[in-house]
């Protein structure tokens, strides 16, 4: 049963703050908000409010607090854990009209942005100063900084540069009761507990970030990219361990398996990957020009020593861009070969990659499912994607059973259930695999410090 619409009186109050364009209540238009990038879960919100700045968010939150309405923050909706779905009579507060870069300080290498600024947009704005924003999730042309903060997003290059939490230096947050707090800020990080660190990755359960201060880093002067082609996926995993053990620190180490390669090559994102390969390993180094070729030579030796049949170096920027486009659009390409996709996101110690990949393959075979792997190998962050058709109930049962087994294999290998997509709705049931009740209770308490009524993004993260 769908939730009742917001009473007219509340709608009028909200419209008075955000304007007619800033409140969506038409059930047909609300369908746009019924899922995120993980379409297995669908729940339409009661209404969507689109404020434009901190003050509007504050006023909206005061009204929703007074009415006791649950609130679900939402960025671009590119998340992959069902984290921004609104259930339990919730109203979605979307940040897609908060798109201003409020300050860009090239001297201190800082930017202050509203949460609806696109990740790639910030790097474009910083480029004339020779700077960029380092975390680069695959969805960076569509995802927002606010969403990145909520999920503590990573990306291919966080192997060298680190994830979102390393770059967020300050936040303005509207709490569930409508109060506004400024946390951290460059130069102010000595003043107490690391509340910025706790907020980043809290998946919308603690408040809404309305202004985000991030640090920027210089654009590297030189980049070298190569592609290792392997007949066996396990060998590619071994090459990753070899490269890291050698003492090299690539900017990125990304693997696509044969299934993924064929999906990419059959799509508009075709990048020239050999379709008969068992796996492709993208290796990238960046930094000052000097020494990059030697790094690439050493990485090539690691690949060949681990059983690569061929290594290709991207000789031109266009070739490198094509390799990356194929990698970054791999999820989209899989839509061609199956109507539904269950994306996993476990992380394992790098040295366990070959063994875990073998186990995942065995599980796929045993459950008669197609599993396509595309992942951040340097971080041990796996993305086994189970391809299926939700209309086949029997297949869906096999998908769920296989998914659970894969998660258990990763945890048994010393890993965790999510490296960058977040827990959301999707992985709540797995939290008990890695945290005991004492820790889960402490997390719940930490959340209540911000949100005593638990109205922020209810039903997410904690089981």
């Amino acid at each position: 049963m769908s939730a009742p619409p917001l009473p007219d009186s509340i709608q009028r109050e909200l419209r008075a703050i955000v304007g007619d364009e800033g409140l969506i209540t038409d059930p047909r238009k609300l369908l746009v908000y019924e899922s995120d990038g993980l379409t297995a879960y669908r729940m339409a919100p009661r209404a969507v409010v689109l404020p434009r700045d901190t003050e509007e968010v504050r006023r909206v939150m005061v009204i929703l607090a007074r009415e006791g309405v649950p609130v679900v923050p939402r960025g671009a909706g590119t998340g992959l854990s069902g984290g921004s779905l609104a259930g339990e009579d919730a109203v979605t507060v979307a940040t897609t009209r908060m798109t201003r870069i409020l300050d860009l300080d090239p001297v201190d290498r800082l930017a202050v942005v509203q949460p609806g600024v696109l990740n790639a947009h910030l790097s474009r704005a910083a480029a004339p100063h020779g700077l960029h924003y380092a975390p680069d999730p695959s969805s960076q042309t569509a995802c927002t900084l606010g969403g990145n903060v909520a999920e503590n997003s990573g990306g291919p290059h966080c192997l060298k540069y680190g994830v979102t939490s390393r770059y967020v230096t300050g936040l303005t947050v509207v709490l569930p009761d409508g109060s506004v707090v400024e946390l951290g800020g460059a130069g102010r990080d000595l003043q107490g507990l690391d509340l910025v660190g706790l907020f980043v990755g809290s998946e919308g359960c603690m408040g809404i970030a309305t202004e985000i201060e991030v640090s920027l880093v210089p654009v590297p002067r030189g980049i070298r990219t190569m592609l290792g082609i392997f007949d066996e996926l396990e060998d590619a995993g071994r090459a990753v361990t070899e490269i890291i053990s050698t003492g090299l620190l690539p900017a990125a180490l990304e693997i696509m398996d044969g299934e993924t390669i064929r999906a990419v090559e059959a799509s508009v994102f075709a990048a020239g990957y050999p379709t008969d390969a068992g796996a492709a390993l993208v290796v990238e180094f960046d930094g000052v020009e000097e020494g990059l070729d030697r790094d690439l030579d050493r990485a090539e030796a690691c690949c060949m020593g681990s059983g690569a049949r061929e290594v290709r170096r991207a000789s031109a920027a266009e070739e490198r861009a094509a390799l990356w486009k194929g990698r970054k659009k791999a999820f989209g390409a899989m839509g061609r070969i199956a109507p539904d996709l269950l994306v996993q996101d476990a992380t394992v110690p790098r040295t366990r990659l070959p063994e875990v990949l073998r186990r995942i393959s065995e599980i796929g075979t045993r459950y008669r499912l197609r599993v396509a792997n595309v992942f951040h190998a340097g971080d041990g962050n796996l993305h086994p994607n189970i391809l299926f058709d939700r209309r086949d109930a029997e297949e869906l049962e096999r998908v769920e059973a296989a998914s659970k087994e894969i998660m258990q294999v990763c945890v048994d290998a010393g890993g965790t259930i999510t490296g960058e997509h977040g827990v959301g709705i999707d992985k709540r049931k797995h939290m008990g695999l890695i945290f005991n009740d004492v820790v889960l209770a402490a997390m719940s308490e930490a959340r209540r410090a911000w949100d005593p009524e638990e109205r922020m993004n209810p039903g997410k993260v904690l089981p």
Partner: protein
């Protein structure tokens, strides 16, 4: 225990022992302090009944060189870690003062990085997981031992830098980096203040991946700007050449880097102030610190890329005047959107100015988190002002 007597020091050997001690202390209404204070030393507002030392929590859990990660008891020292990791060509790129003797737990609890933070990150970026025993004795196994992990709320980051007010850290998982092939120094000595600031601005605007930059001033000595370069030989050599060109070969020189981060207190009863500001305001803040604290002969170390300023003084005989100077400096720093912490100093000054400035509107949140993890107030507020201000 009567007020004024020395607190009892306990040295538990396991997390379970720590939990037992804290449960008993909470039940008895005792006040507990964590650590032996090798990285910071605040006079206690109220003397503790008990001090928990991590000195015997030195167990090496899993050290997997091929993964560049390891798990260690909080009592392992920087020197102990070096002995383990150097033979594998690895290191933990945190190099604060006194690191050889300081414990990993203390470093993480202080959140204290060092000179090379710009290249590798701060402790909060390098800690993968930890065990926190809460003030009332609950054992929280937080985070994990993989380099990327977003499962659940990040209580690891909350614990890092919490200075012992939320619980006792007994185990830490951490990531290592390959030892750099080359570790080089480019320095500028004896420049006049205006020249020094120009050199600092030049380095700040450099697009090179510098490991760290520090400017030291000492009473009666010429100031020195030191740039540390780390990495493989070819890129470091290229950076060195470029920096020497930028800074002017006649005033800059280069050589191998020797030693660690030279900043930080000299130990003992010295006074240490830690100031943060934006890098572009660092020279101004340093100038004000030298003016305000001039009568006490301060030494300063400015971390040019991160905006951290360490100020050290041997002692302050007129504590009231010194307290007024610190208070005035703090106001000036806060006007410049920075912060000042009295990391080590006399009790009278602490009572006069407090270790930290106000926590701002986040203070109420901090107080609630503190109350959840240490409901009995067993661990005291330490240096924090945990109220809205």
């Amino acid at each position: 225990m009567s007020a004024g007597s020395d607190p009892r020091v306990v040295q538990p050997e396991s997390t379970e022992e720590v939990a037992h001690i804290l449960r008993e202390a909470t039940a008895a209404g005792q006040r507990v302090r964590v650590g032996r204070g090798s990285l910071a030393g605040w006079p206690d507002r109220d003397p503790p009944d008990l001090v928990i030392s991590a000195d015997r929590l030195t167990r090496v859990g899993i050290y997997e060189p091929a993964d560049l990660t390891g798990e260690f008891g909080a009592g392992i020292t920087g020197g102990g870690l070096r002995e383990l990791t150097q033979p594998n060509g690895q290191w933990l790129p945190l190099d604060p003062w006194n690191w050889q003797a300081a414990s990993l737990g203390g470093l993480v609890a202080m959140g204290r990085g060092g000179l090379v933070e710009p290249l590798y990150g701060a402790p909060r970026d390098l800690v993968l997981g930890l065990t926190l025993v809460t003030g009332d004795g609950r054992i929280l196994e937080l985070g994990g031992r993989v380099v990327k992990n977003v499962a659940g709320f990040d209580l690891v980051r909350l614990a890092v830098g919490s200075r012992g007010v939320l619980g006792v850290i007994t185990r830490i998982s951490i990531r290592f980096f390959p030892l750099p092939e080359s570790d080089r120094l480019v320095e500028v000595r004896g420049a006049a203040p205006a020249d020094l600031e120009e050199a600092e601005r030049s380095v700040q605007s450099s697009m090179l991946p510098l490991a760290g930059v520090i400017t030291g001033t000492r009473p009666g000595s010429e100031p020195v700007l030191r740039v540390r370069l780390q990495g493989n030989r070819e890129p470091v050599a290229a950076q060195e050449r470029e920096l020497l060109d930028d800074l002017g070969p006649q005033r800059a020189s280069s050589g191998p880097w020797v030693g660690d981060d030279p900043s930080g207190p000299n130990g003992g009863d010295g006074i240490h102030l830690q100031i943060r500001t934006r890098p572009s305001r660092l020279a101004e803040v340093r100038s004000r610190a030298l003016d305000e604290l001039g009568p006490w002969g301060p030494e300063t170390d400015s971390h040019v890329l991160t905006g951290r300023l360490d100020v050290r003084l041997g002692s302050a005989d007129d504590t009231e005047a010194f307290g007024r100077a610190v208070s005035s400096l703090r106001s000036e720093v806060e006007m410049l959107r920075g912060s000042l912490v009295l990391d080590r100093g006399p009790a009278a000054v602490l009572a006069q100015v407090g270790a930290m400035g106000g926590a701002g509107p986040g203070g109420g949140l901090m107080a609630r988190l503190k109350a959840q993890l240490d409901p009995g107030g067993t661990l005291g507020p330490g240096p924090f002002s945990l109220e809205d201000s």
